[in-house]
Amino acid sequence: MSTLPVASSQPSRSAAPTATAAGWSWRPVALGALVLAALAVPFVLTDYRIFLATMTLITAIAVLGLNMLVGYNGQLSLGHGALYALGAYVTAVLMEHGGFAWWATLPVSAVVCFAFGFLFGWPALRLKGHYLALATFALALATPQLLKHKALEPWTGGVQGITLLKPEAPFGLELSADQWLYLVVLAMAGFLFLCAWNMLRGRLGRATIAIREQPIAASAMGINVPYVKAMTFGISALYTGVAGSLGAIATAFVAPDSFGMFVSIFFLVGVVVGGLGTISGALVGAAFIQFIPNVADQISKSAPSAIFAGFLILCMFLMPQGFVGLVRDGLRRLRTRGQRPRRGD
């Protein structure tokens, strides 16, 4: 189990500069470079590549949602694919049957997913570890079946699903649909990441981490453990659900079979590969699950999943703390090089 103390759970995007021996801090510089690169994307890449970048950002939001629950709160969920599907279908149904504009569906999706997460989380989080994993996994498995069910077909379009229209750039801007969508998603991702970072530094974040580390002590200190757990689940569901909505808009299509159990498992992989309990890791993890399967496909047409599995296992050997954990370890080693080893008592 993660033993990161609260302080080191701070994400790498920190406003307070950390001075290295050289006297300047690298974090704002890295952040600035990242922002510039992100803004340049729609103008240097082809439409298809832009679309992939958009999907990566969307996946990153979903992975961040899961990471809040798993990394910061220490609760294992194998069912976030269901929340992704929920957000996607809320958007699709509202657009198709309610005539909503795509952007208007987002607040509704956020509220619905939050409510679902909160209400599911309250009783479910009585379960610990593997028991919770099973409960959430049950959710993930039930989702495609429920979506295909006859009773819901008039709304969900059954197996066929629902096709949507891709949003065009407004005000006659000289942007393709993909470019416009990318910028929108980028702005949303930036906003959501910032909110997450702010939340996790604040009271809720500290309470969440306290519960992960020492639930009994946290409760004894006056933290309302069920409430915080349910809130964390709710917010986690909100993030992943909104990602699902954005995903539906970006792919312009929802169908039950795209939301099988592997979506949930891939999100978990993204969390672990990126780095548990980190915000920046969500981007790395999303990139991993977005691109490595394609790489695997290119290496071997006949057994691409085996190659992907090989990558996965290799990753866990080389960086069990995830990518961000690896980077932090490396930086710490650089910083303490030359210092004498600590003496214990």
Binding site: R342, R343, G344
Partner: protein, 237 residues
């Protein structure tokens, strides 16, 4: 008398933290040696270092042979039995199964049965509770069981980690009396780590004093008992 166990400049680590800073001590063949010290002095770490349960450096010789690079299982096979702090009871197994686990290294069934009889001789209470689940035994009984489990190995050296911990004085006396008997009858050397200084000095021949990871004093038990500094700091008078 030849030393059964010799430790030279032994350091021990929990991860990057160094808890033993190069200690030296000896256990004489057939004798009882005690290591004393306050909480956090490094007593348990010393025994763990001997058994190979923590990362250690330095020289450890057992009957002349260097064992500081050996695995725990190998060290046990060489004849060192360790009664760990907290007793290490296999709580879901019966008393008898606990003893059989202790006898894992014995090849002969007869030796195992004889061993069990001997243990029940030392601790009749265990015979009464033979088929009882070990987790339901009282603290004192679990300590007796832990010692018996170690003795089933037929060791040459017995390491004991704070056997008096959490026990009532009468039980402590009973256990320490048996230890004296075991030492005499079976010729087993004993290295005893204790916070209960009075009892330890009563039982032991030799004593070493540990303070924050280093040995600061050593001598015969009598010398330490008569030492005024020890009396003031550890015995309170």
């Amino acid at each position: 008398m030849a030393a059964l166990l010799e430790a030279k400049n032994v350091e021990a680590f929990y991860g990057p933290t160094r808890v033993l800073k190069g200690i030296d001590f000896e256990v004489a063949e057939g004798g009882i040696t005690t290591i004393l010290g306050a909480n956090g002095a490094g007593k348990t770490s010393t025994l763990r270092a001997l058994s190979g349960l923590v990362r250690r450096t330095g020289e450890i010789r057992f009957a002349g042979q260097r064992i500081d690079g050996f695995t725990t299982e190998k060290i046990a096979a060489l004849g060192i039995a360790h009664v760990p702090d907290g007793r290490g009871t296999l709580v879901n197994m019966t008393v008898e199964e606990n003893l059989r686990v202790g006898a894992y290294l014995c090849r002969s069934k007869q030796v195992v049965e004889e061993g069990m009889e001997r243990m029940f001789g030392y601790f009749p209470r265990l015979r009464e509770r033979r088929q009882q689940q070990a987790g339901t035994l009282s603290g004192g009984e679990q300590q007796m069981l832990a010692i018996s489990r170690a003795l089933m190995q037929r060791p040459k050296l017995l390491l004991m980690d704070e056997p008096s911990f959490g026990l009532a004085p009468l039980i402590i006396r009973e256990i320490f009396d048996i230890m004296r008997v075991v030492n005499k009858q079976e010729g087993v050397g004993i290295l005893l780590v204790e916070q209960n200084v009075a009892r330890a000095l009563d039982l032991a021949d030799h004593a070493w004093l540990l303070e924050t990871g280093s040995t600061v004093m050593s001598g015969t038990a009598k010398e330490l008992r008569d030492n005024e500094q020890i009396r003031r700091s550890y015995l309170g008078f």
